[in-house]
């Protein structure tokens, strides 16, 4: 029973977003990169819990990115992942990333592939379902619970207006959302062990991005907040109707 956890290297949530090269590139200067929170808190931590419960033998990280993302991969080691594969390429779009991960998984055989529900930089929520499509595997999206018994997974996931409990035989691809597991802080032993865990670097195979980004723009913040006295809430309702036109 082997688990593959796909992780993305993203700017920390509090990053001030800026662009460069005529607004065609994200400006990485001075930015702290982290494991995409959903990949870490939910997918990776749940994989580690399954291993600790002796339901999985090995947790492997996979990441598509250049050498500068290795610090992020080591953080995954510090949390407890056993080994990692870095596909040495930039990640131009979701399909390219999914194709790389799908190709690797196809030749190396995994029972469970976990991803976070979306990345906090491109918010596409796409890579997991694309991997499932490439490998012809079932896909459970936005899962909040994942339990294993032998070859069978029981999951709870989000549907329109509620949740459902499903069963599915492995192999399987799952996108993980809040509820799946809790964030962990790496301990000193983990951090020490992280330095010597095996990180394999392999070249990209094939590779055909289907989309490209032409330009970026910052979303305008709200410029002024009109303050209304609590004794004049009729005025607020009036403004919501006549100025904002929302009621």
């Amino acid at each position: 029973m082997k688990i593959l956890v796909a992780i993305s290297n993203v700017p920390d949530t509090t990053t001030k977003i800026q662009f460069t090269d005529g607004d065609t590139k994200f400006n990485t200067a001075g930015v702290t990169f982290v494991i995409n929170p959903y990949d870490e808190w939910y997918a990776l931590v749940r994989a580690l819990e399954l291993k600790e419960a002796n339901l999985a033998e090995k947790v492997t990280l996979i990441h598509v990115g250049l050498a500068d993302s290795e610090a992020t991969i080591r953080k995954g080691f510090a949390l407890g992942a056993d080994d990692a594969v870095r596909i040495d390429a930039e990640s131009p779009d979701a399909y390219f990333v999914a194709e790389q991960i799908g190709n690797y998984a196809k030749t190396n055989g995994y029972d469970l592939i976990l991803v976070g529900k979306e990345t906090i930089n491109y918010n596409g929520s796409s890579v997991g379902a694309m991997i499932a499509g490439i490998l012809d595997l079932p896909f459970i999206s936005l899962a909040t619970r994942l339990d294993l018994a032998g070859n069978k997974a029981t999951l709870e996931n989000e549907i329109d207006g509620g949740t459902q409990v499903v069963e599915c035989e492995l192999p399987l691809v799952v996108s993980c959302a809040k509820g799946m597991a809790e964030q962990r802080i790496p301990n000193m032993r983990g951090i020490m062990a992280a330095r010597s865990k095996p990180l394999q670097v392999i070249p990209a195979s094939g590779g055909s991005p289907l989309t490209s980004i032409k330009s970026y723009s910052l979303n305008p913040g709200r410029t002024t907040c009109k303050m209304i006295s609590e004794d004049n809430l009729d005025e607020l309702v009036h403004l919501l109707h006549s100025e904002a036109k929302v009621i």
Partner: protein
């Protein structure tokens, strides 16, 4: 050539996000000189008529009770519909089903996907260019879809629904799914929608409250305000984590991301993780007793003061306004 739109029926209605996507596809059809074919499962005559009014020229009407259980089956049915209609553009809503099906279909068809578009695309040669939010709502990126077949999933509530007097031609469509081996069994479904309430992702008005409410016993007044407005209630993460309110009401980066027309935040400080889930709202009203709460910087209207006195007064003001409207 047609624009294919994936649509759904939920709780006896054509989903609002589906009507939005039909409208959206009609606009793309206009831009590209093509027509709109919608595909839907288990729709009745009235629902098919409504889809026509939204702008579908043709509807592929599927009757299959097992389809919804597995996105693999939906994707396979759509692959056949794409072929039958020679569709070059496929439109989804960026909702729970769209997020599971559109990327799988994209991988199958090697079709470029923009997930969460917020505007109409522009045609540029053989490409479509379309904007979507990136960096959790802090920025917008202009994407170019460069593949032969193109898929766009539209962020719900990006455009208001418009219905005209168009009538669609309805064709029965029976995809052959015998080759698809679904392994997913649904054991149980749990609804978290009280009767009559609009689900959060579809809601045009949301009243949300945080720790400032001091305890779950004080939510009655939040619900009263929501009821007066016709809004759906939501909450901040700490409130869901403390089990004051159910988890499905949690809006923010880790919870549900929403973009209603009106978002009223009461007793929520406005942490960046909360803003990431709500900053797409058209108008934001913040009510907080701390005049330095960061949320005021991201609000359109602010009221400083005690929530327990403001909420009932605001509810009365809304009721008075509504009474005068009638």
């Amino acid at each position: 050539m047609a624009i294919l739109v994936y649509t759904e029926i939920n709780k006896g209605r054509v989903k609002k996000s589906s009507l939005e996507t039909i409208n959206y596809a009609a606009k793309i059809a206009e831009l590209t000189g093509s027509t709109v074919t919608a595909i839907v499962n288990n729709a009745d005559a009235a629902q098919l008529e409504e889809m026509g009014k939204a702008g579908a020229s043709k509807i592929l009407s599927v009757k299959n009770d097992s389809l919804a259980a597995d996105n693999m089956l939906i994707s396979a049915a759509l692959e056949q519909a794409v072929k039958a209609e020679n569709a070059k553009v496929i439109v989804f809503a960026f909702d729970v089903v769209g997020k599971a099906v559109a990327p799988r279909l994209a991988a199958k068809l090697k079709a470029g996907l923009v997930a969460g578009a917020v505007d109409y695309p522009a045609v540029n040669g053989n490409t479509l260019e379309v904007k979507k939010n990136v960096f959790s709502g802090k920025a917008t990126a202009l994407y170019s879809i460069n593949s032969d077949i193109k898929i766009i999933s539209l962020l719900p509530n990006s455009f208001p629904v418009k219905l005209g007097d168009n009538k669609a031609t309805v064709l029965e469509f029976a995809p052959d799914l015998s080759a698809v081996k679904s392994r997913i069994t649904v054991k149980e479904t749990k609804s978290n929608q009280a009767g009559g309430t609009i689900p959060l992702p579809e809601a045009e008005m949301v009243v949300s409250a945080g720790r400032g409410m001091k305890g779950p016993e004080n939510w009655g007044m939040v619900e009263d305000l929501a009821k007066a407005l016709g809004a759906t209630t939501a909450c901040s993460r700490p409130v869901a984590d403390m089990h004051w309110r159910p988890h499905h009401e949690h809006v923010g980066q880790t919870g549900v991301a929403i973009r209603p027309n009106l978002y009223i935040a009461i007793g929520i400080s406005g942490a960046i993780q909360h803003l990431a889930g709500v900053n797409g709202s058209k108008t934001i009203v913040v009510i907080n007793n701390d005049k330095d709460a960061p949320f005021f910087k991201s609000a359109d209207y602010g009221v400083v003061g005690d929530a327990f006195s403001i909420i009932p007064k605001l509810t009365e003001a809304v009721k008075k306004f509504k009474a005068n409207q009638n």
